[in-house]
């Protein structure tokens, strides 16, 4: 499998505190799940891969190019889309304007991309003129995901997209993740606490424990014992 994203011994963190402690990761055309308990470092890892947090050591390659020290807008322009766990929208802009902000880069016509994301998330059509700040939690995640897709990414980093949402919504969202990967040919790195749902859509899995990673394994081979050890239960 040809790696699209390749991280070699990466370390990162905040204000001198190292959160990600020398991690190797290789993502190809797949859904790659990063599992772990609260505080394991999943969000920090994804923000680091999106280049929002600088590396303190290691190398990061995307599509054969070294992006270890590239600013976030460069990695975005090269095809990395990022959906943070919270505050993934601009609240004073309408839903449609949020999507337009996502479409500032890329070559395809904006309306063509818009039609695709509305087809994927039909609820957006009815809410396009609503202020993003008035959306419910589930709608916000949906629009944030759609905004990232408007960038025409080749790799999508999803940080706990269903945290705190109702079970019905969670099922629906994981179906959409599957659709994005299969129909739009987008690779996905999915950080998730909900191991059961993540394992349903993931091809491969890594369990993160306090910034250190387990072996990468096929989703089908993950056992309850591995998860218990990783989640330190």
């Amino acid at each position: 499998m040809k790696a699209m994203l390749d991280a070699r011994g990466i370390r990162s963190g905040y204000s001198g505190v190292t959160v990600i402690k020398g991690l190797d990761l290789s993502v190809g055309p797949e859904v790659f799940a990063v599992l772990g308990a609260n505080g394991a470092g999943k969000s920090t890892l994804l923000a680091t891969l999106a280049r929002l947090i600088p590396l303190t050591a290691g190398e990061l390659w995307f599509d054969g190019q070294d992006i270890s020290h590239a600013p976030p807008w460069v990695s975005a322009a090269r095809g990395i889309g990022y959906v943070p766990q919270e505050k993934g929208l601009f609240p004073d802009l309408t839903v449609l304007e949020n999507l337009y902000v996502g479409a500032m880069i890329g070559e395809r016509a904006r309306d063509e991309r818009l039609a695709e994301v509305v087809e994927l998330f039909p609820d957006i059509g009815a809410r396009r003129h609503q202020l993003a700040g008035t959306l419910s939690g589930g709608e916000s995640r949906m629009v944030a995901c759609a905004r990232a897709l408007m960038q025409d990414p080749r790799l999508l980093l999803l940080d706990e997209p269903t945290a705190g949402l109702s079970p019905l919504y969670v099922d629906n969202f994981f179906d959409r993740i599957r659709d994005i990967h299969r129909n739009q040919n987008v690779s996905i790195v999915l950080a998730e606490q909900n191991a059961t749902k993540a394992l349903e859509v993931a091809d491969r899995v890594m369990v993160l424990t306090l910034g250190e990673a387990s072996e990468v394994m096929d989703a089908s081979s993950v056992t309850t014992e591995i998860l218990k050890e990783g989640y330190q239960i």
Binding site: R51, D92, V101, H129
Partner: protein, 318 residues
């Protein structure tokens, strides 16, 4: 039409109000959209005013050129110098947090004020620098000033048109996105620092142009023109009108300008001895009190949110 009530002094105050509307519109771009609270408006306005004055007064303009070319060239010079000042100050402050931006811009305004008082060779120090004049003569001083009011209004109307266009443009959306969540905006493929710098420098240049234009009317440019009052008026007016809305700058500044500069200072018959010292100080206190009151009772201002929500509301779920 009888225009006797429109005294020279009233026309001058109206020009000041229109100029302040322009400054508040530019502040709206910086603070209302991009989240850069520029408390040094008067610094850029002052750089433009003094650069205009120095260029006009100290350069040996040939008499055969008349007044139009020297005034226009000096206004252009003031605009460019204020833009360069905006680039330098912006480079230092646009990535700082709100406190850093507040202190940086206030400090810049203090430096400009200090230079205007102490650099006697170029600025004339506390005594000021002159003379500047209108680039035309259509009869009386009042007629000349009224025409300048018209020209200033056209320039401010163009700034309003530009600001309204920015609101709905991709550039404006990027500014708003940067002001609301810069980390997220940076992950969308555009360099936010460059976006903020372009906006800050062009805004500063336009503030300089307004300063120069006001300097034309002053005839004599003095440091007293660079007090905190102009920043207060633009800031209070914008916050009162609604800092997230382009028209907020117009509504708010006209409201506080008419109330505090015309009604309070001119039309209410206070005793004459109050007018020299007490009333200007009380007026600045009124500006401060208005700012506190608006922020406490209606922080979004009269016009409210940046966008109208055109979807029928229904209870949030999840």
């Amino acid at each position: 039409m009888n225009l006797d009530w429109l005294t020279q002094y009233v026309v001058t105050i109206v020009i000041l109000i229109v100029t302040t509307v322009g400054l508040a519109l530019l502040l709206h771009l910086q603070m209302g959209l991009a989240g850069i609270g520029n408390f040094g408006i008067v610094g850029f306005y002052g750089v433009g005013m003094y650069a205009f004055g120095i260029f006009l007064v100290h350069l040996p303009w040939p008499e055969s050129w008349g007044m139009v070319a020297p005034v226009l060239a000096s206004l252009l010079f003031g605009t460019v110098i204020a833009g360069i000042a905006g680039l330098l100050v912006g480079w230092l402050i646009v990535d700082l947090d709100a406190d850093g931006i507040l202190l940086g811009t206030l400090g810049f305004a203090a430096i400009v004020y200090g230079l205007s008082q102490t650099n006697r060779t170029w600025t004339g120090g506390a005594e000021g620098m002159g003379t500047t004049d209108f680039p035309y003569d259509i009869g009386t001083i009042k007629a000349n000033t009224l025409l300048w009011l018209g020209i200033t209004t056209v320039v401010v109307a163009l700034i309003l048109y530009y600001v309204i266009r920015v609101h709905r443009s991709p550039y404006g959306r990027l500014l708003i996105a940067t002001g609301q969540n810069e980390a997220l905006a940076r992950s969308l493929g555009k360099p936010t620092f460059r976006t903020k710098m372009v906006m800050f420098a062009t805004g500063s240049a336009a503030m300089g142009l307004l300063g120069g234009m006001y300097g034309v009317m002053l005839h004599y440019i003095r440091p007293v023109e660079l007090g905190i009052g102009i920043t207060l008026a633009a800031m209070v007016g914008l916050v009162l009108g609604g800092q997230a809305r382009a028209w907020g700058a117009v509504v708010g500044v006209v409201l506080v300008g008419v109330l505090f500069e015309l009604v309070f200072l001119i039309w209410i018959p206070f005793p004459t001895e109050w007018r020299r010292q007490s009333l200007p100080v009380i007026r600045e206190m009124l500006y401060g009190a208005t700012l506190i009151l608006v922020l406490m009772t209606r922080p979004l201002g009269i016009l409210g949110r940046m966008r109208r929500d055109r979807t029928v509301r229904r209870p949030a779920h999840d």
